[in-house]
Amino acid sequence: MFAELFDEHAHPLHRYLARRVGVDVADDLVSETFLAAMRGERSYDPERGSVVGWLYGIATNLLRGHAKREARLLRTAERYGVDLGVAESLEHTVIARVDSRSHLRRIARELARMADADRDLVLLVSLAGLSVQEAAEALDLNPGTARSRLHRLRAKLKEVEHA
């Protein structure tokens, strides 16, 4: 049963986590997510939402342990105008690639300033492709609250994108 669940969801979940905190950390987080699911550490209640929301909720909680790392990568990305993959490699080297994508720098700065839960909401919908309803389930939010909060956060990001 959990093997079926893994086959269905592990790949997109790993891709999402890897984009946020790197492949090596994503490996651990995917393992920990499914182990937590199997151990029933956060039990699945079908009346409260979908399996996707449940799994990404577990993963998001685990991801919080790496929020500082993500914020640090975002600041590196902002500083050098690079994506997070390059930012990660820059942590191991002194070579900085200056990039002209200044709007990405501003978005990175804004994301780094955001509360963890707000950043999770934006990225669960935009990067992981969850519906607002599923993201709300993952973050234990009222769907209406999630919708209005997401609207506000995206408006702010668009503002700095075009500043």
């Binding site: 891709r15 890897a18 199997m38 029933g40 699945y44 079908p46 997070l84 993959g85 990225l123």
Partner: protein, 287 residues
Amino acid sequence: MRDALDDDLAELYAVRGADDVRLARLREQLFAEAPVRRSRRWVGAAAAALAVVMITGLVVLLRPESRDAPATLPVKPAESLAEAATLLETAEKPAAKYRHVKYTIWQTIVHDHDDRADRGSVVEFEIDAWVPTAGGELINIFRRATGQRQPLAGYPPLEPEVEFADSEMPKLWSTWCAVTPCTESSLSLPLPVDPARKLEGASARVLSPYTTNEQKAATYRELADSPGVHWDNGTVTDAGGVFSFRIDPTTGQVVEFVQQQANRNSLGGVPQLSVSVSWEWSDQRPS
């Protein structure tokens, strides 16, 4: 709807390597750990089972002869959906640890090929659902193709080695749950208004291992009040004629479900799906 901000976020959070080999290794590590936990549970279950056997033996030995009379009164077979509903509602409440529902399924499968002749067979699958009666416990559902196949008239058979995609595996109910309690989600949807689709709408409700006897009885009563739904000695049909159930008149449980091809003339009248169902209570389940 995606916009430029999503593109920028995707660019900032660039895709990084997540190859299948990595995930396969993770999968292997993860599911190598599981049996350790299961084996611990098995020891507990075996000890519990031994205790049950010993206690049962003592009870039988010490029981006075006068108590050998049947424990339950003979049941009057149901002669309508409403009576079958009453049977379910008045059935003895289980004291066992698990509800075990076994589905034996014959499904017609045709594989289309662009470059050669289509192939088809009637393929047997089995599903075993073990649903704990206590809350907060893991639900086990085992699905498998048994390897048994029957020929489908007009088609060369499927290749013996062919594997079936998830989408081809029979889906008999609507809900996925990891742990108990679990509610069959189709119960929250109304039955279709169309008299020809009543049983299609009810099928997940009455086949799901998560539906309680009371919920099933309510569905029977709803069907009994629906125009076009007929009861004939335990066989229930609707105006569409595509779906039918057979209900055991002595227990009220669905023991057979048939879904005909939407076009009855296609595939020589062979059903799309034919399911036999058995329901039992058990104190043990496979690990």
